[in-house]
C-alpha cells in the first residue's frame, strides 16, 4: 500500500467500476441457445458460429503456413511458438500411444486441440457477441425479449441506458382445448380450431408488444384490446386479431419515426462452440477416426468382436455395454464442450451486464483457462479412446492409460 502506483491503480479501478455500474450498464443480455442465422446461401444457413469457425480455420491455416514456410533447425519467431506447441503435442501422443501409433494419431489430436483452443480464445475478442445484424421483432416475428435500439445514420446502437423489453403474453384466453367442449364449439373442425388458436396467440402477442412499447416509449395506444374491441368477437376472431396486429404495426412505425427500432442483435461472430453443431461435428470426426484406427489396427472382424461376441453370456453383455459406451462418448464429448462454452459465454454476458468494467476481467481469465482446458480434454480423450481402440482385448488392462479415469 505504500507504493503510490498501487494506490493509483486501486483508485482507478474503483472509479472505473463505479462509472461502469452507473453509466455504462447495457440492457439485460438476451440469451439465445441456437446460433443466429445471418443469411441463407442456398439451403445452407450461414450461422454466426459458422462464420467464427471459418475465421478460426483461416487464422490457423495462415499461422501454420507462415510458421512452416521457412523452417530452420534453429527456430526463431513464430516458428518457435508453433513448434513448441506442436512438439509438446507430439511428445504427448508418443508418450500415450507409443511411437508408431502416436505418429498416426498426432495430426487429428493436434487439429482437434488447436481448433477448439483457438476458437475458444477467439470468442473472447471484443467484437464477438457485440456487433451484429438487427433482427426486428414484431407480433409476427415474435420473441419473448427484445431491445429498443437507437438508429442513427443507418447504424442501430444499443445505448447504455436502454433496457431489455420483456413481453408478457397472456395466453389464457387461447386455451380452447381446456374448456369443456360446448355444443357450439364441438361443431368447429380441428383444423379450424388450430387456426383459431394461432390467431389468438398472434393477437395476444400483438397486445403484449403494444403494451410494452407504450409503457416504455409512449407510442401507440395504452390498451389495444379495448381499441379493437369493436373489430371482432374477441380472442381467436380473425378480424380482431388483424386489428391488434395493425395496432402493433402502428406502434412500431411510430417508434421507427422517432429514430428507434425494436429488435435483437444477431451477432456476426459468436463463439464457435456455443452452437451445438460445432462440438457435435468435432465429436463425430473424433469418433470416425477412432473407429477407423481401431478397424485398421485390428482388422474389421476382430474389431467388431470387441462389441459383438457370443463367446460367453458375460462377454456378450460387456460387448453390448461397450458398444453403448462408444455411442455415449459422442454425446458426452458434445455436451461437455457445448455446455462449458455456452455457460462461459453466458457468464461473461451476465457479468458484463452486472458490472461492465473490471469485475468481468477475472472471468475472462477464467474463460481463457476453460477454453484451453476443454480443448485439451477433448483432444486427450480422443487420443485415449484411440489407444483403447487399437489395443486388443487381451492386453486391454495393461495398456489402459491412467488418463481415462482422470479425465472422465
Amino acid at each position: 500500500m505504500k507504493n503510490p502506483k498501487t494506490i493509483l491503480t486501486i483508485v482507478g479501478a474503483l472509479v472505473l467500476l463505479l462509472a461502469g455500474f452507473l453509466f455504462m450498464r447495457g440492457p439485460k443480455p438476451i440469451i439465445e441457445i441456437k446460433a443466429e442465422t445471418l443469411a441463407y446461401l442456398g439451403p445452407f444457413p450461414l450461422a454466426n458460429t459458422y462464420v467464427s469457425s471459418a475465421a478460426a480455420v483461416l487464422v490457423l491455416i495462415v499461422v501454420g503456413w507462415f510458421a512452416a514456410r521457412k523452417l530452420s533447425l534453429i527456430p526463431a519467431g513464430i516458428q518457435n511458438l508453433v513448434e513448441s506447441v506442436l512438439e509438446a503435442g507430439y511428445n504427448l501422443c508418443v508418450a500415450t500411444a507409443g511411437e508408431k501409433n502416436g505418429r498416426r494419431f498426432f495430426p487429428v489430436f493436434m487439429t482437434i486441440f488447436i481448433f477448439i483452443w483457438v476458437a475458444n480464445w477467439m470468442a473472447l475478442l471484443p467484437f464477438f457477441n457485440a456487433i451484429g445484424a438487427v433482427e426486428p421483432v414484431s407480433a409476427h416475428e415474435f420473441r419473448k425479449e427484445a431491445v429498443v435500439m437507437s438508429k442513427s445514420a443507418g447504424i442501430a446502437l444499443i445505448k447504455p441506458s436502454q433496457k431489455t423489453v420483456k413481453f408478457d403474453v397472456n395466453t389464457s384466453p387461447c386455451t380452447f382445448d381446456a374448456t369443456p367442449p360446448a355444443a357450439s364449439q364441438s361443431r368447429v373442425p380441428p383444423a379450424e380450431r388450430a387456426k383459431q388458436q394461432s390467431d389468438c396467440i398472434l393477437g395476444q402477442r400483438a397486445i403484449a408488444v403494444v403494451e410494452a412499447l407504450y409503457k416504455k416509449d409512449h407510442v401507440g395506444v395504452a390498451d389495444p384490446a379495448a381499441a379493437c374491441a369493436s373489430a371482432g368477437t374477441g380472442p381467436g376472431d380473425h378480424h380482431y386479431t388483424e386489428c391488434l396486429v395493425g395496432q402493433s404495426e402502428t406502434a412500431l412505425a411510430q417508434l421507427k419515426a422517432s429514430g428507434k427500432e425494436l429488435g435483437i442483435i444477431a451477432p456476426y461472430f459468436r463463439s464457435m462452440n456455443t452452437d451445438i453443431n460445432s462440438p457435435l461435428s468435432i465429436a463425430i470426426m473424433s469418433a470416425i477416426f477412432v473407429e477407423f484406427w481401431g478397424i485398421t489396427a485390428l482388422g474389421f472382424f476382430k474389431y467388431l468382436k470387441k462389441f459383438f461376441t457370443i463367446s460367453s453370456p458375460i462377454n456378450f453383455f460387456v460387448g453390448i455395454l461397450e458398444f453403448i459406451a462408444e455411442l455415449a462418448r459422442l454425446i458426452s464429448f458434445t455436451f461437455r464442450l457445448f455446455g462449458n462454452m455456452l455457460a462461459g459465454e453466458i457468464l461473461l454476458l451476465v457479468m458484463t451486464f452486472l458490472m461492465p468494467f473490471v469485475v468481468a476481467l477475472p472471468f475472462y481469465g477464467l474463460e481463457m483457462f476453460v477454453g484451453v482446458i476443454q480443448a485439451f480434454v477433448f483432444a486427450m480423450l480422443t487420443l485415449v479412446f484411440a489407444v483403447l481402440a487399437v489395443s486388443t482385448h487381451d492386453t486391454h488392462g495393461e495398456h489402459e492409460p491412467l488418463e481415462v479415469t482422470a479425465l472422465h
Binding site: 444457413p45 459458422y50 512452416a68 513448434e83 506442436l86 507430439y90 495430426p107 453443431n277 457435435l280 470426426m285
Partner: protein, 171 residues
C-alpha cells in the same frame, strides 16, 4: 420429444455438415502445410542431435585415448630419462674409480722407483765408503809394518777380513 429438444438446441443438418467440412479442411491443410514439414524438421533435428551426441561421445573417447597415450609417452620418457641418469651416474662412478686406481698405481710406482734409487745410491755410497776405508786401512798398516808385506798380499788380507764383516755391498 427428444427430437423436439434437439431442434430447440439448434442441431441443424446443413450446418453440421458445414462444420464437418470445416474441420476436414483444417485437418487436411494443416497436415499438408504445417504438420508434414514440421514433423520432418523435428525428425531431422532429432537425428542431428543424436548424431552430434554420438560424435561428441566419439570425440570424448578419442580424447581419452590420446590423453592416455600422452600419459604413456610421458611416462616412457621419464623412465628413459631416469635410466639415462642412472647410466651416467654409473659411468661417472666407474670413471672415478678408474682414476682413483690409476692414481694409486702411479703413486705406488713412483714410490717404488724412488725407493729403488735410494737403494742404489746407498749401495754405491757404501761401496765407495768401503773402498775409501780399505785404502785408509792399508795406508795405516803400511805405515805400521813398513814394507814387510807387499801391496798385493795386503789387499787380499783386507778383503778377506771385510768379507767376514758385516759389509757385504758390491765393490
Amino acid at each position: 420429444m427428444l427430437i423436439l429438444g434437439i431442434a430447440d438446441l439448434g442441431i441443424n443438418l446443413p450446418l453440421l455438415v458445414g462444420q464437418l467440412v470445416n474441420f476436414t479442411i483444417l485437418l487436411v491443410v494443416l497436415r499438408l502445410v504445417a504438420y508434414g514439414p514440421l514433423m520432418k524438421m523435428l525428425d531431422g533435428r532429432r537425428e542431428r542431435i543424436r548424431e552430434s551426441l554420438s560424435a561428441a561421445e566419439e570425440m570424448r573417447t578419442k580424447a581419452a585415448e590420446s590423453d592416455r597415450q600422452v600419459h604413456e609417452q610421458i611416462e616412457a620418457a621419464r623412465r628413459e630419462g631416469q635410466a639415462l641418469v642412472a647410466q651416467a651416474q654409473e659411468i661417472s662412478q666407474r670413471i672415478q674409480a678408474d682414476a682413483r686406481a690409476q692414481a694409486q698405481t702411479d703413486a705406488e710406482a713412483l714410490i717404488a722407483r724412488a725407493r729403488n734409487e735410494i737403494q742404489l745410491e746407498r749401495d754405491s755410497a757404501i761401496a765407495e765408503l768401503r773402498k775409501e776405508f780399505a785404502d785408509t786401512a792399508i795406508a795405516a798398516a803400511e805405515k805400521v809394518i813398513n814394507a814387510s808385506l807387499d801391496r798385493g798380499q795386503h789387499r787380499r788380507l783386507i778383503d778377506e777380513a771385510l768379507a767376514e764383516s758385516r759389509f757385504k755391498g758390491a765393490v
